[in-house]
């Protein structure tokens, strides 16, 4: 799009949207948010950028092929779900690891739940960007 106002605005929005998408991803653990909505917001950031620049520039900024991003995400999500059966629990049962936990302090929690959300985030981000860039090429 050939508008100075949009270009300047897009550069600002691009960063803010990306940070916000990560915020939504992490917040989703106990509050509204999560990988799906985070991924959508992240994709919007790149779409805004694609509209202000062009497809080639967007691919450069993204650095990796969006399709690869989506498949990596899907793999991560699937593996996090399979962790449960690995330790004789149900499918997609959350697995928790508390780093440096002591009697009084529960330490730094790491969970397969977040891993699943990150997988979903990457899947949605990659899939939506791939679709939109494909459509942009046709238009």
């Amino acid at each position: 799009m050939n508008s100075l106002i949009y270009k300047v605005g897009a550069n600002l929005l691009f960063g803010i949207l990306l940070v916000f998408s990560i915020f939504m991803l992490l917040r989703g653990h106990n509050e509204p948010g999560g990988g799906f909505i985070g991924g959508l917001i992240g994709a919007v950031a790149f779409i805004v950028y694609a509209l202000s620049e062009n497809i080639a520039a967007t691919r450069r900024v993204l650095r990796v092929n969006p399709e690869h991003l989506a498949v990596t995400g899907l793999t991560i999500a699937l593996c996090s779900g399979l962790l449960g059966p690995l330790v004789q629990e149900g499918l997609f049962a959350g697995q928790w690891l508390f780093l440096g936990a002591t009697e009084t302090d529960k330490g730094w929690p790491i969970s397969s739940v977040l891993l699943f959300d990150i997988g979903v985030y990457l899947t949605v981000l990659g899939a939506i960007i791939a679709l939109v860039l494909e459509m942009e090429r046709h238009l």
Binding site: F36, E67, V71, L74, T75, L78, L82, G84, P85, E89, G90, L91, F92, A93, G94, A127, I128, A130, L131, E134, M135, H138
Partner: protein, 494 residues
């Protein structure tokens, strides 16, 4: 590991594996193997639920109303199996149908993602989770639509996506309202909670929104027009799997939601009944006006959807048996007809009826293989479509609903008109360019395997309908009285 999740996990794993191997040519074989595995697991699932058992898995070990429940009852298991069979036929067929370029861009990966979405939608026992599977399906199917880089494809894909997003908004609004009203999204728990509530205006609104949402998905009159616009442009393998499965997920959702969660009240049932009759009639008339094989078949999907929704609208046990029987029969027959359209295109060079002909003399085997699903679609005895229509008409007559019975009969007749049109133009009349217009290389073996296999299934259902009928009857009984479903999901305490 739980049997219920296995088909979904297989599909997801296959999607990843196919993507990674898409440049080596291995992906097509992985695709066939994975579809076969999907089918085998689904047969096991079907055996596990035979006799009215209900198999339940609570994801992440969260107990029922809180976590996501995956449930397989008779209907779900049957639909899962039919998904596997269609997937297997299409993946075999695509061995010869697709060029390397389409495979490069990840056809098989998207195809298995689509199968995962469809299977998930059939097996979930959670209303919001159903929405998630719809999204998986939508993303995969949109990807498949734009794979084929011809200009017309995107034009067809646009109304498809736009209307599906609209449907999503209706669906989410209804889900939000239901959650606000009951505090639950688990289908079984929703029913228990709603049973304690008085009928209210809010509940009617929720029903209407859900009707609109699933009505768009299943292409019911007057919300069907996106379908004929989208289904005749993509590769034949793609359109076959769309034609077989996608709209049927909408029909399944209608049946599931309006028997388990919110049984239709008389006024809504009347509206649905008229929509069903409208769908049947408009679809078949639309088909009569078309001259492209895939366009004709697309309009017939719409018309056939009407029969299934009619079963839901009538609401008796026999009518639901008819709807379930129809779903199973229709997926096989319709996917097969689209595969045959692909074979016609390969041999005669086109699917526009004016531009082709002479197939009967050149390819008598294909002609016979066409007649089986075509006559089954029209409801000739003793093929599967005859029994499906017979049960539904019997159900309408039992209710003394002469209009529904009459419409079902007339639409059946008009279906024969369309099928004889394809027969006469594509098979009977000589090719307009003479024999030189035909491709005289033999039909690829994968084509024959896929088309013949599905045709054999159609004949089997037609000749031995009793076990299928008994199974559908058990499934329908569980739909009308969901006590056992609810008990299986929520445990004895509910």
């Amino acid at each position: 590991m739980s049997l219920v999740m296995l088909p979904i996990l297989i599909a997801f794993t296959a999607a990843i594996a196919c993507f990674l191997t898409r440049r080596t040519g291995l992906d097509r074989f992985i695709s066939v193997i994975a579809s076969a595995a999907h089918t085998v697991v689904s047969i096991q699932l079907l055996i596990a639920v035979a006799g009215g058992q209900i198999v339940v898995t609570q994801l992440g070990d969260w107990p029922a109303p809180f976590g996501i429940t995956m449930v397989a009852d008779g209907l779900s298991a049957a639909m899962t199996l039919i998904t596997g069979i269609t997937g297997l036929a299409v993946s075999i067929y695509s061995l010869s149908d697709l060029g390397r370029r389409t495979c490069f861009s990840g056809f098989h990966a998207l195809f298995h993602l689509l199968l995962a979405g469809v299977t998930g939608a059939f097996l979930t026992g959670d209303l919001f989770n159903l929405y998630v599977w719809f999204e998986v399906m939508l993303i995969a199917s949109f990807g498949l639509l734009v794979l084929n880089k011809r200009p017309g494809t995107l034009r067809g894909a646009m109304p498809y996506v736009a209307l599906n997003l609209l449907s999503t908004i209706f669906f989410l609004t209804a889900v939000g309202m239901l959650y606000g009203l009951t505090g639950s999204l688990n289908m079984a728990h929703l029913r228990v909670t709603l049973d304690t509530m008085e009928p209210s205006l809010t509940l009617s609104w929720i029903s209407v929104l859900l009707l609109l949402a699933f009505g768009i998905k299943s292409a019911v009159f007057p919300l069907f027009f996106w379908l004929p616009a989208a289904y005749h442009t993509p590769a034949f393998s793609v359109s076959a799997v769309f034609a077989g499965l996608l709209t049927k997920v909408g029909v399944y959702a209608l049946i599931r939601v309006f028997t388990l969660i919110l049984p239709l009240d008389p006024l809504l049932a009347d509206i649905v009944l008229w929509c069903a009759i409208g769908t049947m009639v408009i679809g078949v008339l639309g088909a009569a006006a078309q001259t492209d094989v895939r366009q004709i078949l697309s309009f017939h999907i719409v018309s056939q959807i009407g029969y299934m929704v009619l079963g839901l609208a009538l609401g008796t046990r026999l009518a639901l048996v008819g709807a379930i029987f129809y779903l199973i029969h229709h997926i096989i027959v319709k996917a097969n007809l689209f595969l045959i359209a692909g074979a016609i295109h390969r041999i005669a060079g086109h699917t526009e009826l004016k531009a082709i002909g002479g197939l009967y003399h050149a390819r008598p085997v294909l002609a016979v293989l066409f007649l089986i699903p075509a006559f089954s679609l029209a409801g000739f005895p003793p093929l599967s479509g005859f029994w499906a229509k017979y049960i539904l008409i019997q159900a309408s007559l039992d209710l003394q609903n002469w209009i529904a019975a009459g419409a079902a009969l007339v639409v059946g007749l008009l279906t024969i008109y369309s099928m004889t049109k394809i027969w006469g133009e594509a098979f009977w009349k000589p090719h307009p360019d003479g024999p030189g217009g035909l491709d005289h290389r033999p039909i690829p073996t994968p084509y024959i395997l896929a088309i013949g296999g599905l045709a054999l299934l159609t004949v089997c259902i037609g000749l031995f309908p009793a076990p299928f009928f008994a199974f559908a009857e058990q499934a329908a009984a569980d739909l009308i009285d969901p006590t056992r479903y609810i008990q299986a999901v929520l445990g004895g305490g509910a």
